[in-house]
């Protein structure tokens, strides 16, 4: 599965319970649109750590890395180098 689809699938299943409607595009902010709350961030980080096998540093917990599908894809891609 493509990385983008994997991340998109997690967001849709875990935060939207299968509802595709709120997710307009890959650029939209997950926070500003209420798709993810502060617990959601924790869940997202757990997904990145457990399902993607990454280790995430505190300094990387910034919206530029996590706050949209596109940012997440870029972040994971960079991490995997």
């Amino acid at each position: 599965m493509e990385l983008r689809d994997q991340i998109h699938g997690f967001v849709v299943e875990n935060f939207l319970f299968g509802d595709l409607d709120p997710l307009r595009d890959d650029e939209m902010s997950l926070l500003d649109n209420g798709i993810m709350d502060s617990v959601g961030v924790m869940e997202l980080v757990a997904f990145l750590e457990q399902d993607m096998g990454l280790s995430i540093d505190d300094s990387e917990l910034v919206p530029e890395n996590l706050d949209s599908i596109r940012n997440l894809v870029g972040f994971v891609t960079r991490k995997r180098g």
Binding site: L16, V39, L61, V62
Partner: protein, 672 residues
């Protein structure tokens, strides 16, 4: 406490169907199993289930004046009935009983519908004035006691509980799935709405008068009048600096008002106990009572098997400090899951938390110990500013003055320490919601909370979601705001909203009256004495909430009565394990039976695919967030309620019907 019910014909005579009285009174007999009474004339029927607390021998109801012109069925207490009786005697009234009910009818005879202004109490009553052919329905200032009503053809029905209305043959309370949208946004239905499309509630602090026509005219009304609302200082006075001397004086005033409110709530002809939660509020209440008596007080508390929720240690500290005779019950997942269906049956509304369940277990303990009355600390957080949402409103208003500031929002981590773990920028996005509405948006204080809870509406079936969106509870709420609201500051506004929505619609009902009355126990709340609330409303918010110190003034008022650790410990919000209570045992069976795809389709409120995804997450043990847990409990309770008020309702009502001989018909009118 008690339960009341009745019916009024809006045109012509009242046909009382066979079994109506037996069913309406019987299905809420938990509210008053001591005696059942009824009265009727050609247009009106009044019913009553009594829990005898004052004037055990002659306080039967419904009760009429000596000349039989005014009759009342009354649920609750008028604590200042002794003082009122003296005043009324002075005005020439003669009393035949020792009851507060008789004081109520005399007060009406003397002061008309404005009698409610003089009552210090918690009440819901229906009074029929035969001379004027006028029905008066009234509810106490805060909504401590419930009162529902419905139109059924040419009959107006009313009762303490919705299930009692269902006792009227041919009337069926219809659950309105769209009403769930409100609960999934603001936690409650905005009064007068209820979860039922054809049932309304009389809002707190309101009376309703209905004038029955003469000679075949139709009835006019009901006419609603709001006789009281929480009031606060205008913004400029509310944040005025209060110096040390004035603070000390105000603390003394608060102490005196609270002591009076506690003592007057001991009036009963049965023993009165108290709850100890381990927090400041119930500790203060218990201490004020123990202060006035040599008798060893009986106290009750609930503990949790899960240490994260448990406050036993503090409860024991307080009990030891006061030397009370303390009883406790410890609950865990099994008790919460096992009691949940009963909890929903009593709450009569979908709920977003399991927190009512332990309180239901606790009232069971009180009942088993032979107690009928308990005092609790309910209302202190609203009246004296203990809630985070009030502190949050203060911080967000401060931040709104400099929206670009990076430092100001950081104050929120003082309220919610876990935010410090959040990624940079998250806090400002979540709590920055609606920041520019600090002046223009009356619901500024509640935006972040409502936005967050509102996400749960995504689980509604698409058609239900459309209907829910069209209800627009905010407009209804905006229209109900008192004129003074516009002049209040952010903290006062938030207090008002908390009192009229969350406190009245959830804390006093789902967590209060309904869980207490489910086991036939009456709760009394000194902090909700209107003299205390009015005094607090006249005190600047800057004293009640000094900086961000919650309940600063209240603490100063009661500190000398309590161990220091009780005063200084941080507030622990009362919570119970939520979705975790349904993983094994009875709770699991209930969830299994109610959340399957077929059942979801049959009920038709929720989108089965979304719920399936929610359940997958729950089964995987990943349902950790508050929002997900609220969704789970909200969906489960709505499904349970749909069953109870759907196919089960008829036999639930029939099974609890009284025998005709169990009801004492009062008054001069023979039963037709």
């Amino acid at each position: 406490m008690c339960g009341i019910c009745g019916a009024v014909s809006l045109a012509g005579g009242l046909e009382l169907p066979d079994g109506a009285a037996e069913r309406m009174i019987g299905v809420m007999s938990h509210r008053g199993p001591d005696e059942y009474g009824a009265w009727r004339d050609v247009s009106v029927f009044l019913g009553h289930a009594r829990l005898s607390i004052i004037d055990l021998s002659t306080g039967q109801q419904p009760l009429g004046t000596a000349d039989g012109t005014v009759w009342v069925t009354f649920n609750g207490e008028i604590f200042n009935y002794i003082e009122l009786r003296e005043e009324l005697r002075g005005l020439g009234h003669v009393f035949r009983t020792q009851s507060d009910t008789e004081v109520l009818v005399a007060s009406y005879s003397e002061w008309g519908e404005h009698c409610v202004d003089r009552f210090n109490g918690q009440f819901a009553f229906a009074l029929y004035d035969r001379g004027r052919r006028r029905l008066l329905l009234a509810r106490d200032r805060f909504g401590i006691r419930p009162l529902f009503w419905a139109r059924h053809g040419d009959v107006l029905l009313f009762a303490s509980e919705v299930k009692s209305l269902a006792g009227w043959p041919g009337f069926r309370p219809e659950l309105d799935p769209a009403a769930l949208g409100e609960i999934f946004g603001t936690w409650v239905n905005v009064p007068p709405a209820t979860p039922f499309g054809n049932v309304l509630q009389l809002p707190a602090g309101h009376t309703a008068t209905l004038d029955l026509g003469r000679d075949g005219e139709r009835a006019a009304g009901p006419v609603f009048r709001r006789y009281w609302h929480p009031d606060f200082l205008p913004a400029a006075e509310d944040h005025r600096y209060v110096g040390r001397d004035e603070r000390a004086r105000l603390a003394g005033d608060v102490r005196e008002a609270l002591a009076d409110a506690s003592v007057i709530r001991l009036r009963a002809d049965v023993p009165v106990g108290a709850y100890l939660s381990g927090g400041l509020d119930s500790s203060a209440t218990a201490a004020l009572i123990q202060h006035t008596t040599d008798r060893r007080m009986k106290t009750f508390s609930v503990g949790f098997k899960d240490a994260a929720f448990d406050e036993t240690r503090w409860q024991q500290t307080m009990s030891a400090h006061l030397g009370t005779d303390h009883e406790m019950i410890r609950v865990g997942d099994a008790e919460i899951g096992g009691a949940f269906a009963d909890v929903v049956w009593h709450a009569e509304t979908p709920i977003l938390r399991t927190a009512p369940a332990p309180l239901y277990a606790l009232s069971g303990l009180v009942r088993a110990q032979g107690y009928k009355v308990v005092l609790t600390g309910e209302g202190a957080d609203e009246v004296f500013c203990g809630y985070n949402i009030l502190r949050e409103a203060k911080v967000r208003a401060f931040w709104a003055r400099e929206p670009e500031s990076r430092r100001r929002p950081l104050l929120l981590t003082r309220l919610y320490p876990y935010l410090e773990q959040s990624p940079a920028g998250f806090l400002t996005r979540f709590y920055g919601a609606g920041l520019d509405g600090v002046a223009s948006d009356p619901f500024f204080s509640h935006r972040p909370r409502w936005n967050n809870t509102g996400r749960i509406t995504a689980f509604l079936h698409s058609e239900v979601a459309v209907a829910a969106a069209a209800r627009d509870p905010e407009s209804r709420l905006r229209a109900s705001l008192p004129a003074a609201f516009a002049d209040w500051g952010p903290v006062a506004r938030a207090q008002y909203l908390e009192m009229s929505l969350f406190m009245a619609g959830y804390l006093l009902s789902s967590q209060g009256d309904r869980m207490l009355m489910g086991h036939t126990v009456e709760g009394r709340f000194p902090f909700l004495d209107h003299n205390v609330a009015e005094l607090a409303g006249r005190i600047p918010a800057s004293a009640k909430l000094a900086g961000l110190q919650e309940k600063a003034l209240l603490k100063a008022a009661v500190a000398d009565l309590l161990p220091a650790e009780i005063v200084t410990r941080p507030k622990q919000p009362y919570r119970a394990p939520d979705s975790a209570s349904f993983i094994v045992g009875q709770g699991a069976e209930l969830a299994e039976a109610m959340l399957g795809e077929d059942v979801l389709r049959e009920v038709g409120i929720f989108d089965p695919q979304r719920i399936a995804a929610l359940i997958r997450k729950w089964r995987a043990g990943r349902l950790t967030g508050a929002r997900d847990n609220m969704a789970f409990i909200g969906v489960l309770s709505a499904q349970v309620q749909a069953h109870q008020f759907g196919r089960e309702l008829e036999h639930r009502v029939a099974d609890s019907a009284l025998e005709p001989a169990e009801i004492a018909w009062r008054g001069v009118e023979p039963k037709p």
